[in-house]
């Protein structure tokens, strides 16, 4: 056995990986080897990507799914949830038959949804279009609803929309009529009736009762309106525009001047008048809150549509305008 003479300090033992690396680095052409290798690998990968066809259809159900229906997966999580909802049992307590039944119904549902897309139901069926529209609106509105209004914002909204909180006015009014010119067998002329009516109005304003003027001047109830408290719009509908306008100007206990209509001379006796008024904020704050929230949703929809329009290509036919 011969001893090997070593001059100087003993060199540490190096691994083959390090030695190979050092050899590679020590080569004169090292500066071009690594980039060249990278370029070749990159080109090979790109070529592979370019010439590879469409991905092959799945033949096995991927992890996390329970079924593939025309390549569309049914999530395991959705399946568990549906089994628990349908059977009212924990998933591990449901029988295999129950699970099979649920899976079958989920597959059927998926098939019908896919068929609906083939039939282009969003294009042809109003209910589907509405459901889709509402679904998108609900999604864009949620972040807005997460922002509750401050009291000041709610108050400002009320001030801006206070006409929305107008209470309907009501009135209890007698509509007396003196028929003329053969109407209801009446034989007096319109000037005669007006003269009598003016006198009757004078009596009423002096304190005479409605029954008194009916008895002494030939007035009768017009029967257009019962003498009970009615909302303004009901009175308007029953009496007509002209008499309603007269009635609206009367206060509690007021008697109108005679009013000529086709059927004779009318006199209105206002028992009680409660004019329309704007409800104060406190009494309608819940309505204001609800309206504010609705407006938030509408604003979200409007902004979403604006965004979609900015990204869409919309071409109108000649002569058409939005």
């Amino acid at each position: 056995m011969s001893a090997t003479r070593v001059d100087g300090p003993v060199a540490p033992k190096r691994s083959w990986v390090r030695r190979a690396g050092e050899r590679l680095i020590a080569r004169p052409g090292r500066s071009s080897v690594l980039p060249l290798a990278a370029v070749v690998i990159g080109l090979a990968l790109a070529a592979l990507g370019m010439f590879r066809g469409a991905p092959a259809p799945l033949t096995e159900v991927p992890a996390g799914y329970v079924a593939l229906v025309n390549q569309k997966g049914i999530l395991l999580s959705d399946f568990i949830s549906q089994v628990e909802t349908a059977t009212m049992k924990r998933f591990d307590e449901a029988t295999p038959e129950e699970k099979s039944r649920v899976l079958r119904s989920m597959i059927d549902e998926e098939l019908l949804v896919q068929r609906a897309l083939v039939l282009d139901l969003p294009e042809t069926t109003i209910e589907v279009r509405e459901a889709m529209q509402q679904g998108v609106e609900a999604q864009v509105a949620e972040p807005y609803w997460a922002l509750p209004p401050s009291d000041a914002e709610l108050r400002a909204y009320y001030d801006k929309t206070r006409s929305e909180y107008t209470n309907d006015g009501t009135m209890t009014v007698h509509d007396l009529v003196m028929h003329v010119g053969g109407f209801q067998n009446a034989n007096q002329s319109t000037p005669q009736a007006l003269s009598d009516a003016a006198e009757a109005v004078y009596r009423l304003r002096s304190g005479a009762s409605v029954d008194y003027v009916k008895e002494h001047y030939g007035f009768v109830d017009s029967n257009r309106l019962p003498a009970i408290e009615e909302l303004d719009f009901v009175v308007k509908m029953r009496l007509g525009e002209k008499l309603f306008e007269v009635a609206s100007a009367l206060g509690n206990g007021d008697i109108s001047d005679p009013v000529i209509e086709d059927d004779g001379v009318h006199v209105l006796v206002m028992d009680v008048r409660r004019p329309a008024s704007v409800a104060d904020f406190t009494s309608v704050r819940d309505k204001v809150y609800q309206a504010y929230r609705r407006a938030q949703g509408e604003r979200a929809t409007a902004e979403n549509v604006k965004l979609l329009r900015s990204q869409a290509q919309i071409i109108l036919a000649p002569g058409e305008e939005e």
């Binding site: 690396g21 949830s81 949620e142």
Partner: protein, 240 residues
């Protein structure tokens, strides 16, 4: 060199893919019982959490009362029972996303703003909540608060008659002194006055099923650890 490195990386990726598939295809209720899967999920989930969840729930996972983002490590769950399946459902479909699979049965009404409760009523209910959660309270106001809770405010409809909440509605348990939007009397007043309507995005489609499952397992495990530690401590104390 490159071939060897590529081969090692490829082998590693194949192995990881097998683990991912196994994690995702295991029934959610069974994952927590498989230590190997739990270990895998725990190793994979933190970067996903840091990238997608920490902005709201905090890097320390302790939530953010400013935005109503819950603490994820206290094992008190707004929705579901804290099991992997329920956590996964929340991550998949989110909370109040407008998606009908999301958690969106109801939300906390703005009792003050809508004029359902007066300021005095709300003050009383706050005192009752302080009592329920084991903190100092004003006795008379708390008694009045209890009447309001069960009376015209109908709080029990969502939070239950015993105030222990209902995780189906996402109505918090009011007896455990855990408050997603802050628990000071002022915070409680605001929650009742303005209501609560917090949202969480649906992650299905953004994250892979594997990422969602890994997060669900991770959250389930870390949220149960403190409780497990407490149970272990109690067991040790009561051991003969």
């Amino acid at each position: 060199m490159l071939v060897v490195a590529g081969g090692i990386a490829y082998a590693h990726e194949v192995r990881q893919e097998r683990w991912r598939a196994r994690l995702v295809s295991t029934l959610p209720g069974d994952v927590a019982d498989d230590p190997a899967l739990v270990a895998f999920a725990r190793a994979e989930a933190p970067p996903i959490y840091a990238k997608h969840c920490a902005a709201c729930h905090g890097a320390d996972m302790r939530g953010n009362p400013e935005i109503g983002a819950p603490n994820l490590v206290d094992n008190v769950w707004l929705y579901g029972d804290g099991g992997v399946f329920e956590i996964e459902r929340t991550i998949l479909y989110g909370i109040r996303t407008g998606n009908s699979k999301s958690r969106s049965v109801t939300d906390m009404p703005a009792f003050g703003q809508r004029g359902v409760l007066s300021d005095a009523d709300i003050h009383s209910v706050v005192q009752y909540l302080l009592k329920l959660s084991g903190r100092p309270y004003q006795v008379e106001a708390a008694n009045e608060g209890r009447r309001i809770y069960t009376g015209n405010a109908n709080c029990g409809d969502c939070h239950a008659g015993d105030a222990r909440g209902d995780s189906y509605y996402g109505a918090p348990n009011l007896t455990v002194n855990v408050w997603n939007s802050g628990g000071s009397p002022e915070d409680l007043y605001k929650a009742i006055y303005f209501g609560e309507h917090h949202t969480m995005q649906a992650w299905f489609g953004t994250l892979s099923l594997f990422e969602i499952r890994a997060l669900a397992v991770y959250l389930h495990v870390v949220s149960h650890e403190p409780a497990a530690a407490v149970r272990a401590t109690l067991a040790a104390r009561t051991a003969p």
